[in-house]
Amino acid sequence: MRVAFTLDGQPVEIDAAPGERLVALLRDGLDATSPKLGCGIGRCGACAVLLDGAPVPACLVPAWRVAGRDVRTRDGLDEAALAPLLQVLREERAFQCGACAPGAIVTLAALHAHEPRPDAAAAELLMAGNLCRCSGYGGLRRAIARLFR
């Protein structure tokens, strides 16, 4: 099966088995490695991408579902628009090893851009699908408190 979609603003076309997951398509087929394969069951959030602007775990999305749609990974986000958010995450040490960072950044950016913007408590709750083992979430909570006032 041939699948055509927009990846990080560029049109792409690739052969995919019908049941293949988007995360495998991205990482193995298209060398788009910012989504990380942490669990494959949608629990850790490390493979989160934006599908038509909404965050989804790429490990739960079958390849056929993305045909004709817009897929954006962490590496495809607008750096200029993202810069203030990254600055806060950096200042607050939100991440250490950073394996969870691409998925968390994609999710956080989508929440931040959402109208109306959730408050800090709601944003924290919505980040419970992104696991981080290094940080204990202290830095992420401080960043959320600043970004979602």
Partner: protein
Amino acid sequence: MNGPPPRTAHDPLVPGFRFLTDAAAPGMLHAAVLRSPHPHAAILRLDVAAARAMPGVAVVATAHDIPGDKRFGLRVADQPFLCADRVLTVGDPVAAVAAETPAQARAALAAIVVEWQPLPVLADAAAALLPGAPVLHPGGNVLHATAYQRGDVEAGFAIAAHIIEDVYETPRQMHGFIEPEGAVAIPGPEGLTILAPGHWAEAERQVIAGMLALDPARVRVVASPVGGSHGGKDQLHAQPIAALLAHLSGRPVRLLWSRGESIAIGVKRHPFTIRMRSACAADGTLLAHAVGLLADTGAYSQHGPEVLDTAHENAQGPYRWPHVHVTGRLVASNAGNSGAMRGFGALQVHTALEQQIDRLAAACGVAPLAFRLQNLRADTAPGQLGQTLAAPSWASLAARRLRPPPPPRQEGRWRIGTGIALVEKGEGFARGGPNQASIALCLTPAGRIAVQLGMSDLGQGLHEAAAVLAARRLGCASEELEVLLADTAETPDSGPMAASRGTGIVHRAIAAAAPAFLAALLDRAALRLGQPAATLRLGPGGIWAVNTHANAPLLSLAALAEGAPLRVLASAAPIETTTGTGAVHALFTGCAAEAEVAVDCLTGRVVVRRVRLIPVSGEVASYAGLRAQLEGCASIAAGFVTLEGLPAPQGRMRADNLDGYLMPTIADAFLLDVDAVENIPPDSLGPRGVGEIGINAAAPALCNAIRAATGFVCRRLPVDPEAMLTHLGAAP
């Protein structure tokens, strides 16, 4: 496609930042491993002929295809790279395939024929000690044992006013890093390059070269950056099989473990059963302490002997005990693999010991803090096993910042309690361990100063610490420094990135290398400028005149770099002691903790509200980094006490993915206060590592908070809500 990641700082916020398991190479094959479905079985027949004929398959390997060493390990090489005749755990590797696509590799696995003969299963250490238990290793199931005695414990118990005796069980905790284990092996004209997250690139190179019967100079290992480890990547994982398949096929091979493979075969924290009998006099003076340790190391030794030694060495804590008897056994079972994890053996005994201390204090009516201060060993006293120390742990300085815990209280359906703990833990390795560490300082052709270090950045901030500490010592700006980590083609052997040694090693190795490096820089500058080296110094941007008010350097580093390359290699002297009994450390770090928990009387759930950590840090390289490390420590400790455990009934892990194993999420996060003891009497040892000690202190403080709130003794971790409810129902 892409090769190794670029040599930038470990900065995952930069777009395009790649881990080693993200790497790919032209013509790369994808690997998959056939693993044992049985906890214990003999392999009667293994036939890979059909798999070799499958579409897209480039190579199928079994143990017979390994040209060199067949097994690996630290003290004892007892773990097969591929099992030939017997498997000792679910997940043990039996055969491996490399094919054009991941799907073809998986399809080929299904074509491999194995005839198994299941054998009796040793589900845990206790089962492995029963008479008539199957023997898993040639020397028996006890892989290591320890014993230490001082005074006469029975005499101590005979005169004691209070004796607390109990058995504590600690869980098999999972490291839970987000990047599962993996490796990319790339053959080339220079030899074989292995890109894989690890802790000790040089040792990994030696073992892989031994397996392939290659000159180590023909093997290159790049082991940093690491997408999380917490000790779980401190032993070979996917590297050997990826290397073997690449070696046999002559093509690049990527082997990525699934989360299921990581859980089945990746190492976990050792489950311990700890028996403690501890006694004090009526006035609270500690008298006698008898400890029996039993650790389940799973199928192979891995870091087990070191973990048991560390537990053994920390069983007395920072206290004075006239009479002590400690024994320990490390036992093999068919339940996965136990190995290194932050806190490393000491955590298990700390949770038991600090509960014993609190219970003794309560028995004689002395407040927990006063009881600890009353029994604290003198700072200058020998260590727990009688060894002379390189410096005091300064646990006393941390203890004096503890505040007496407030009394427990009820808030609606919640019981609130506060507990404290005081611990010390060794830094670096015990006597005889790989304590040496080399570092190189270079002036690169581009005019930058490079720090080359053979250790890895696991996310703990080694990259930043190396840059900051080198800049401080050399007098330049940290932005002018390049830090290159864990690439055997360029970095010297710095020993393992483990045991909280990173920051201290960097400090000491840079101190060793800096004088010669600065002298070489200034001598060269003196020659170029025609003025004595004594009138020059290194500063921001290049070489400056001393005592100048100039606003620019006399010579830029770029200009100075013209000509022959400049590289100075130096080593930090190992911090070891020749005194004391057994595998002892010479350097310990103290840490105290206060923790507040709320126990839900409706559900039995324990919620961590707040933790305060007081580590003896000495000089701090980065305050933000220090806080981040301790926040991570506290979270892993909270998981250990309240959530996490991976039972393996009949030798089968009860979870095969992250849905069956609960780790803290942001909804479980709590506030952490850090009150680091920076001002310690000066020595040359540098900053003390805090990457582990926060776990060791926070976990027992949480246990004591739970007991303070409810009277519940944390005999078995994590706390089972059902057991808590039963306790609360029975309590008056």
